[in-house]
């Protein structure tokens, strides 16, 4: 398949099941909501070493938030319920509770739930105040600034992690331009691209020659190892490869984002230095979700 002169390989991205939650962080203005969200989703690029994958889904208008203030929707993904609960509590406790003017709410309903204010309320040292309004319980935690309001629990849903595609480009400049265009086109409901700016330059393979290292550089796609790697996947004209990883609340959301990203990357065309699109998989052994690139398009 050729899209705007760019070869779409007959390959598939292999994704795996995760658990996810959406948190709504509100603040006096969008700036402070984003500061809290960026802080909370920092160092959350990969479960390999971060414990979770997290990112900003979108900004929220005041009429979309529980307390009528500007907000930000954040998605957090982890491999299981326990690690998700642990990560959310630590990140909200250190990055949202501490951030001026913020409040934090569950932004999704799910059959499973994790504690949000349920554990963080104890910061109130006995002065915390519970308010149950309708079916939802909130905690008012007194802080030096005033009160921090946080919902008791957050909903958790089954999710899909590790969707991906790789942009094969003639040089690093073209790869970056295509990746930026792709990330901009992919943003939408139910997905995040958890890596810095949504882009990964250091795609990994499983394992390493060094004991105890669970992942190492994906030598098959390193242009400087074209002649050295045992099985380089890169043709001579490829000078740089960037990857985009996608986590989504559903298979459909990941598929939509992947297709939108590939189309945007290919819009630069072969004339713009984009030579091919492929995807990372492990022969179907890693996860049950397979996103066949050509079928998505």
């Amino acid at each position: 398949m050729i899209l705007n002169g760019v070869a779409i390989e007959d390959s598939f991205a292999e994704a795996f099941p995760m658990r996810a939650t959406r948190l709504v962080i509100t603040a006096a203005d969008t700036r402070w909501a984003r500061i809290a969200a960026l802080s909370m989703t920092g160092f959350a690029t990969s479960v390999i070493a971060c414990g979770c994958e997290a990112g900003i889904e979108r900004d929220l208008e005041p009429q979309e938030t529980p307390d009528g203030r500007p907000g930000v929707a954040v998605l957090v993904f982890a491999m299981d319920l326990e690690s998700l609960a642990r990560q959310v509590q630590a990140r909200v406790g250190q990055c949202v509770l501490t951030c001026p003017t913020t409040a934090c709410f569950s932004g999704i309903d799910g059959e499973e739930r994790i504690g949000l204010g349920k554990g963080l309320r104890f910061f109130g040292d006995g002065f915390q105040f519970s308010k149950k309004l309708g079916a939802r319980r909130y905690w008012r935690v007194p802080v030096m600034e005033g009160e921090f309001v946080i919902e008791d629990v957050a909903g958790v849903v089954p999710a899909v992690g590790g969707g991906n595609f790789l942009i094969l480009a003639a040089d690093p400049g073209a790869a970056l331009e295509a990746a930026e265009a792709a990330v901009a086109a992919m943003a939408g409901p139910g997905v995040i691209m958890p890596f810095p700016g949504g882009v990964v330059r250091s795609g990994s393979k499983i394992g390493s020659r060094y004991k105890g290292l669970v992942a190492s550089t994906n030598d098959a796609f390193c242009p400087t190892l074209r002649g050295q790697a045992e099985a380089s996947a890169l043709p001579d004209e490829v000078g740089s490869v960037l990857e985009i990883v996608i986590d989504g609340l559903s298979e459909k959301a990941v598929a939509r984002a992947t297709a939108a990203g590939i189309r945007a990357a290919c819009a630069l065309g072969s004339g713009g230095g984009i030579l091919g699109i492929t995807a990372g998989n492990y022969g179907g052994k890693l996860g049950p979700y397979h996103f066949h690139l050509r079928e998505l398009l």
Binding site: P66, D67, R69, F129
Partner: protein, 272 residues
């Protein structure tokens, strides 16, 4: 199809226990079977058909017309459906109610919504005290749901209340007495000694800018100053979901905590 309608044939003096007349219990019964239901009236049992004219309709939308305060325990123990009372309701309206909704066009007797755990009660007129309260000897008052009174709440609203919401235009003595949790909002004047012996929970006074003698809290409350509290936005939204807008004049309130004679973890918020 309209709602199943019961129209009172004559005003009564003896109390009638209306607890068996619930949407859930009437579902599947024909008008003749409903008319043959027995109700306790004073010290005897009489057929429902002797007291009410029964008009067929959807039992999940029960309408009781031309009512009087002798009709007690309307909607008691109700779990689903809706009851519209076109007139006054007697004591124990919605007592122990778990779900559904009751709307009273007139006034309600004492103990409206006492010990209820869910659902919504709306009273357009006044309530005669002990709204959402515990029964004598009861451990807790209401533990969930909402009681929205357009008029006066009477005395001792929310006595031993644990969760849920009570709203009234004004209130009498000892509002929120012995309260354990939940929220009471009195928009206008409130009688003396609000929150007396309250352990936890929130009593909001003067939300509509009324202000009464109760705005001076008991001496056993500590003044924490005037603050703008963010959670009141959540309360406003909850009230809006119940169809009530503009109930709070301001999110800026004086926060008084107490009753220090009962643990001191409750609060009275007086609109500032």
């Amino acid at each position: 199809m309209g709602g199943l309608t019961l129209t009172m044939r004559a005003t009564l003096r003896l109390p009638v226990d209306m607890a068996p007349v619930l949407p859930g219990l009437l579902t599947g019964l024909g008008t003749h079977e409903i008319a043959r239901l027995e109700l306790q009236c004073g010290n005897r049992r009489i057929k429902l058909g002797e007291l009410f004219e029964v008009t067929a309709g959807d039992p999940q939308r029960l309408v009781i017309r031309d009512t009087c305060p002798a009709l007690e325990r309307i909607g008691a123990g109700m779990e689903s459906g809706a009851i519209a009372v076109e007139g006054d309701a007697g004591a124990l309206l919605g007592h122990g109610m778990k779900g559904g909704s009751i709307a009273v066009a007139g006034a309600a007797g004492p103990f409206a919504g006492s010990e209820m755990s869910g659902g919504v009660i709306r009273v357009e007129g006044d309530a005669a005290g002990f709204v959402g309260a515990a029964q004598a000897g009861g451990r807790f008052g209401m533990t969930g749901g909402a009681i929205l009174v357009g008029g006066d709440l009477g005395d001792r609203a929310g006595d031993r209340m644990r969760r849920g919401l009570i709203l009234g235009d004004s209130a009498g003595l000892h509002t929120g007495s012995r309260m354990i949790g939940g929220t009471i909002l009195v928009r206008g004047p409130c009688g003396a000694l609000p929150g007396i012996a309250m352990k936890r929970g929130t009593l909001i006074l003067g939300g509509g800018g009324g202000g009464g003698e109760g705005d001076a809290a008991p001496a056993t409350f500590a003044d924490n100053g005037v603050h703008e509290l963010g959670w009141l936005a959540l309360l406003e939204r909850h009230l809006a979901e119940l169809g009530l807008r503009g109930m709070l004049s301001s999110r800026r309130v004086r926060r008084l905590t107490g009753d220090l004679a009962a643990g001191g973890k409750g609060e009275i918020l007086v609109a500032a």
